[in-house]
Structure formats: C-alpha cells, structure tokens
Amino acid sequence: MRHLRLETVGAWLLGVMWILPLAWAVWSAIHPPSSTQSFGLFSPVTLRNFATAWSMAPFGRSMVNTVVLVSMVLAAQFVLCTPAAFAFARLKFPGRDILFGVVLIQLMVAPEVLMVENYRTIGKLDLVNSLFGIALPYLGSAFGIFLLRQAFRTVPEELDAAARIEGLSLRQRIWKLYLPLARPTYVAYGLVLVSFHWNNFLWPLVITNSVGVRPITVQLAMFSTTDQGTNWSIITAATLLSTAPLVIAFLLFQRQFVQSFMRARAQ
C-alpha cells in the first residue's frame, strides 16, 4: 500500500508540473497586465486582453489561412493516399515491395529537412508566399499511405472476392467496401494530421513573407517577438486565442484524440 501512495504523490507532482504552465497561461490572460507577477487570488478578472490582442494583429486572417491550409492538406492527402494504400495492400504489380520500401523512407525524412531545395522548387513554380506553396511539400505522405495500407489489409479477402463476383468495379470496391471499413483509421489519421498542420511552424515561416498568407503559428511568433515587448497578459491571451480552436476540439473529443494518436502510431 505504501508504494502505491508514493506513486500517487509522484504522479501528481508530475501532473502539477504539467498543469502549472497551462494554468498560469490562463491566469495571466484573464487578469490585467499589472497583476501578472503577483498572484493575488482576488485580482479582477477581465477579457480585455483577448480583445486587445485580437485588435493588435490580424489573427482572424491567420486563423482563416490555417483552416484553409489544413483542409487543403487533409483533402489532398486522403485523395492521394487512399488509392496508393489500396494498391500496396491488395494489388499485385511488379516492383510493389521495392516501391513500398522507397515510400517508407519518407517516414524518416520530414519535408523540413529538405527545406532549402523545396524552397527552390516552390520558387520555380512561382508559389512562394502562397497557401498552396505551404501545402505542396506535405501532400504526398508516406505516413498516410502506410496507415491506410494497414487498415485495408485487415479487410477480409473473402468480402473483397464477393464484391468482385457481384461485378463491382475497382472504384466501387474501394468506395463501398474499403472506405467504410477503414473509417476509424481515417478519423485517427485526420485528427493527427489536423493537429500536426495546425501547429506546423518552420516551413510556413520560411515560405511566407506577408501578413495575408501567414498561418496562425507564424503570426503568433511574429506577434510575440516583435509587436509586444513583454506584456505577458497580451502575449498569453494571443497564445490562447491561436490555440483555442484546436484545444477546444481536443477537450470535446478527448477520447477520440487519445485513441487516434494510439491508433495512428502504435499499430
């Protein structure tokens, strides 16, 4: 019994270390700038900081940019990875296994590693400083292909054979059999993808150079470093604002999120 109590204390100590920064961020954002450093329990609560932060930089615009960017990547990855994953899972064609090995290489090499060359490519396509330019390097995804292939392989072959006997075409088989059965994997993959691209920073930073196309992370970084000095209340308010949509979605769908991350990586 004693070691169990010790464990509880340890776990909560760790928990406090993980909650404290978040709690401080909320506390600081809802109190006037003057009281950030003195943690008085009865300091007046205010929402002014959020309004101030929102009016000081085009966060709304950046938020829209991020939403468009994330939707674009999500849609394109689903469309591109689904047929490839199906082919790797269920079709026999010469060079398949070697090709799959080549695809897996991309799991190691994140597009950021190749940002210098990719910047040149995007430049040649005249897409620097555009949302499409941010999205392009991420549209083909070994991670997506790998994940969906795993899911498609669990579809019983007998079902597939039956569908073929009934005269369903390849497209119909994917659409009516494989997609519905792989739904949980799509949800998992989608959630992981959305949180990755909502939070992505370095590549969008180098490929954008104007307010109109900046996603929210780049906007937040610019805001915190240049516009603000050290007005903590305003900075934390901006920080919470820019992460709010994702965090709220996370709190609402906590179970799915956690299970999705498990499913997506732990297969």
Binding site: E7, A11, A84, K92, F93, V102, T217, A221
Partner: protein, 297 residues
Amino acid sequence: MTPAWLAGERREALQGWLLVLPALLFLTAFTYWPTLETAWASLHTAAVPGHPSRFAPLFEFKSLARDPVFWQVLRNNFYYALALIPATMALALAMALAVNGRIPGRAVLRLAYFTPTVLPMIAVANIWLFFFTPGYGLVDKLLAPFGFGSWNWLGESSTALFAVIVIAVWKQAGFYMIFYLAALQSLPVELAEAAELEGSSRVNYLRRVVWPLLMPTTLFVFVNAVIDAFRLVDQIVVLTHGGPDNATAILLYYVYQVGFQYFDAHYASALTMVLLALLGLLAWFQFAVLGRRVHYR
C-alpha cells in the same frame, strides 16, 4: 471492354501502378528529387559573378570541417539528443504506468500529461519564456528560497541549451506516453494476477514481466524520439535564435540559418547532407538492426 492483351495480371499491374502514381509523383517532387538535388548541389561550388558553379566534390565539405560553428552545432545536437531522448522516454513510461493504474484523478492526470501534445511549440515557447524570465520568472522564484539569485536561463550560454531541452521534454513526453499506455492496456490481465499470486513485488513484476513485453514499444518510441531530436527546433527559432554564441543551434536550425539568413544554398546543402546521413543511419539501424521487431508488415 478490356482488350484481350490487357486482362488478368497485366491489368492488375497497370491498375496498381496507376493508383500509386499520383502519390508517388508528390513524394518524388518533394522528397526523393530534392534529396538527389541536395547531394548534387553539395558537390558543387556556389556560382558567383565571374565564377560559374563548378564540380568540386570536397569543397563544401572541407569548409564544413573547418567551420567551428558546425562542430559546435553537431555537439549541441548530440547533447540535445542525449538529454531529450532518455528524459522523454522515462517520463512517458512513468506517466503511462501512473494513469494505467488505479490512481485518484486518473482522467485529469491523463489530460494534463497529454495536452501539451496538441499545443503548437510556439505557444509552449511563449509560456515557458515567462517561466525562464530572470528575476520574476517562476523558475527563479522557485529556486530563490534555496539561495539562487536571478538567472537568465535562455540568455546564458551555459544554461540556454538545457532550457530549450526542458521545453521540448515538457511538450513531447505526453505524446510518447500514449504509445506506452496503448501497450500497457494490451497486456493480458492474467499476467498481473499471476504475479500477485506468486507474491512477487510490484517492482519485480514491472522489471521482469512488463519491461520485456514493452520492448517493441520502447524501440518504436526510441526511433521516433531520435527523429524528434533532429526535428524539434521551433522553440529555438523563436526563443534563442540558436544563441547565445550558437549555444542552442542544432543541425536543422543551422540549415535554416545558413539557407535562409546567410543565403548560402550550397553550404546549406552540405549541412543537409550531414543531416540526411544521420537520419539514414537511423533508418539503417531500424531496418537492419531492429529488423522486424518494430513491425512494418
């Protein structure tokens, strides 16, 4: 209708290639081709007016070897990995064991551990910037009773790397926890019951039974942690700019700096090649050494 020469196996082969092609095109354009281009560029000198680019396979790599900043960056990245990987993995395992057991407030704890994972590193960096503020930051305030004075954690070259590591650990541990948690939950309940019947202590049970069974997960998390040790630079970009005196510059940050602030694409290519070589080594380790233990069926 399908012509006779295009039936059966041939038809399937064609379908296979056609279905793979679009994704492959994008992967080629933004991963495989740029990798080759990077290799090619690293073997050439930069073109300057009057001196066109020429083939000089060792030129960039020689200047790399002479560049003290490069060696410092490599050393930094080594320390970054050496601290980040074991710290996040140990914490992740501890967290998973905690929330897998019957502990008061389990749901709250799991939420607390996992939340940093869905926050962008930029947001995390903003929050920790305050904690590390000299004088009135929380870290200094907590240390003050023990006789420590005001200290600029992110601004002193002796502690800046440590500070950016702390931030990365705080952000990543909950992410890896998920994989350990998934593995723990898939362990048969009978194992724990059998251990209890045999009267073996909890420590013994964890060490002799759970730890070996978690080995595939540990290897999987390890490979991901190594990749992260080369990839997590956002907090460095916004908080320290690699400084002070390059104390927090790791390899990917240096690539960014050389490529996009010094605009030396060829030197950046040589640096990228070093990064790719290290990742290649990891890939080799994963596929050859670990073999099928990390399952890629």
